[in-house]
């Protein structure tokens, strides 16, 4: 037993809880505002788990980390306590899995495996967080997506998905931990892991993804209104006219500039625009305009079903196609009818893959629209409910991961913000401030090639599952083999 092992096994429970608390706060801060902390966030937890005397203590330590990390996304409180508590408990449960698997497998397979294990287990838990109705923003790749210095590592995303970048972050944590606390036995694999992380960065810097070659001028219209203005607009025609006039004015600025594509945020105008000729005339591109519009609207059909809609509008006001939000926000959008499929809008400026709000948080929707031919991604969001809370940053970063994974340019348009244009390397081309009424102009490029991630989806998770399964298998075999030997030596 190394001196460090000895020290770790003698750690008082209070010291372990303190270290877990530190890890939880570091994870939370990384998720909401200090992204680079992700590179070290779980190191204190790995120390706390070392030599943990019981599985229940390990589970508790992991749960504390998940809970503290989860509650940092308090911005969703504006969407209800249920979502906030559910999300935090869900995040805690993932970290319980993390802690228990680490405790069960560390030291049982091999030194290199020990160093890989935190990355494998983190990848598993992060993947689980993309499944189910409570899947919400909490990924290491999302922490890093707006840090230019770490952009080379994001080049892995078109191959493995954002999940692979998160694996790399977790591997860096593990490498650091074993380098400092792992003792002599683990030093070589730790250095190898860190060297591998460095090599991926060097490769990413040397081979950025292609940016595409078909230019398209775009404009994102950000009304900048807060939820109280929309609430007032429900009850008062004067407030409603303000909303309409805001989008009318900003949109016509964009039409007059002659951009190819104008995009509104999610549910920008909550009036029956499609059924009201006067509103169509005022808001949609006039017949002599060059621009087409993708308009975020609420739409109620004649059967009384309401949809969160992205309507494709051509000059003159016709709407040849529309996409209805498929993945609705649990509880908050229970009154809406979901759309039937993720599919791109086939427009005269290209095939546009629309993701509405929550849909951009998940990898599956972006992948599906890219696989079906989307050449540009549009993320239409509201985000006014998050106010100035830092969750908006992470939501924007999660959308940026969709650009990385699919190799597409992505225009994100938020009602309150953030409105930004992101290229396939993750670089931002302009950004509007929160609650700023303005138009973001930029030039995107269209691409139609398919990245390995779009072709093969969660193959990286498959590799991780194989490695984890292999570790479990070897660990069980060794335990079984050790049992007769120890029984025999006891008999002797």
């Amino acid at each position: 037993m190394s001196r460090l092992d000895d020290w770790a096994s003698r750690l008082a429970p209070s010291a372990r809880w303190t270290l877990a608390g530190l890890a939880g706060l570091l994870n939370g801060a990384a998720f909401v505002d200090v992204g680079w902390l992700a590179l070290v966030a779980n190191v204190p937890l790995l120390v706390a788990l070392r030599g943990a005397p019981s599985a229940s203590l390990a589970a508790g330590l992991g749960g504390l980390v998940g809970l503290l990390g989860g509650v940092h996304i308090y911005g969703i409180l504006n969407y209800g306590w249920l979502l906030f508590v559910g999300f935090s408990v869900y995040t805690a449960s993932q970290m319980v899995i993390y802690a228990l698997l680490l405790r069960a497998l560390t030291g049982r397979v091999g030194r290199l495996y020990d160093v890989l294990l935190p990355a494998l287990v983190w990848t598993l838990t992060e993947w689980i967080r993309t499944v189910g109705p409570l899947a919400m923003p909490a990924s290491y790749v999302g922490c890093l997506a707006d840090l230019p210095a770490l952009r080379p590592w994001l080049a892995l995303a078109p191959i493995t998905g954002g999940l692979g970048v998160s694996s790399l972050v977790a591997l860096a944590q593990s490498g650091l931990y074993f380098l400092v606390f792992g003792g002599r036995d683990h030093r070589v694999p730790a250095v190898a892991a860190l060297a591998f992380v460095g090599a991926v960065g060097a490769w990413g810097a040397a081979s950025p993804p292609p940016l595409g070659d078909r230019p398209l001028t775009v404009a994102g219209v950000q009304g900048g209104l807060a939820n109280p203005q929309y609430a007032a607009a429900r009850a008062d025609a004067a407030a409603r006219r303000d909303v309409v006039r805001t989008y009318e004015t900003l949109s016509h600025q964009a039409y007059a500039r002659g951009v190819d594509l104008v995009v509104w945020p999610e549910t920008a105008v909550r009036a029956p625009v499609l059924d009201t000729p006067s509103l169509r005339r005022r808001l949609f591109p006039p017949a002599d305009a060059h621009s087409v519009l993708v308009a975020g609207l609420l739409f109620e059909n004649r059967h009384g079903q309401s949809y969160n809609l992205a309507a494709y509008v051509v000059p003159g006001g016709e709407t040849p196609d529309a996409y209805a939000k498929k993945r609705l926000v649990p509880n908050a959008e229970a009154h809406l009818t979901p759309g039937d499929a993720w599919r791109p809008l086939d427009t005269r400026v290209g095939r546009l893959g629309v993701l509405i709000c929550l849909e951009s948080v998940y990898p599956d929707a972006g992948r599906a629209v890219a696989a079906r031919g989307a050449e540009l991604l549009l993320v239409m969001s509201n985000d006014a409910g998050f106010g100035w809370s830092p969750i908006t940053r992470h939501m924007t970063n999660r959308a940026a991961v969709r650009a990385l994974e699919t190799g597409r340019w992505l225009l994100r348009v938020g009602q309150a913000g953030v409105t930004t244009l992101i290229d396939p390397t993750g670089a931002r081309h302009g950004q509007l401030g929160l609650f700023e009424p303005a138009v973001l102009y930029g030039e995107a490029r269209l691409r139609d090639d398919l990245t390995p991630f779009v072709r093969w989806g969660d193959w990286w998770m498959g590799v991780v599952a194989l490695l984890l399964g292999g570790g479990v298998f070897v660990s069980l075999r060794r335990r079984r083999a050790a049992r007769p030997a120890s029984a025999a030596s006891a008999r002797r």
Partner: protein
């Protein structure tokens, strides 16, 4: 040593988050500044923008028309004469307000402009507060109904 620091940080973060979530937003809109809504007794001031009632009537029902001289007094009679100059026919309101037609209400604190109902809650413009949503119908008081007058909903 570490634990107090963590507790202090967690406390500071919780404090900041609490205030962030409770923060009332003043939004600089394209055409005007939007103040945050606030409760006022049982009512909600949903769009705080104190202003001139006479201008509000013109802006809602005769937008673009030059503003005639305002009513000489806060009485139904003076308002009836002034409204005629805006080509807005006004008559004494016969009964309880259904919300179908706008009204000028001359109760305590009035006159207020009753613009519509949201659910069952009356919505009105009070020059001292802005657009207000009351929890229940306003008390009986002299009122003028703007007969046949419709506000552009958009």
């Amino acid at each position: 040593m570490l634990a107090p620091l963590l507790l202090a940080y967690a406390g500071a973060r919780a404090w900041a988050g609490y205030h962030e979530l409770r923060r009332q937003y003043v939004v600089e809109g394209l055409f005007r500044t939007y103040q945050p809504p606030y409760p006022d007794g049982d009512a909600w001031v949903i769009d705080p923008r104190p202003g001139d009632l006479w201008t509000e009537v013109r802006d809602r029902y005769r937008p673009g028309v030059p503003l005639p001289p305002p009513p000489a007094a806060p009485t139904p009679e003076a308002w009836t004469r002034a409204l005629a100059a805006l080509d807005l026919p006004a008559h004494p309101a016969p009964d309880a307000w259904s919300g179908a037609e706008p009204r000028l209400w001359f109760g305590p604190g009035g006159p207020w402009l009753l613009t519509g109902v949201f659910g069952r809650q009356p919505v009105f413009f009070d020059p001292a507060r802005g657009v207000v949503m009351a929890p229940e119908r306003l008390p009986d008081a002299p009122a003028l109904e703007l007969t046949g007058v419709r506000e552009n909903p958009w």
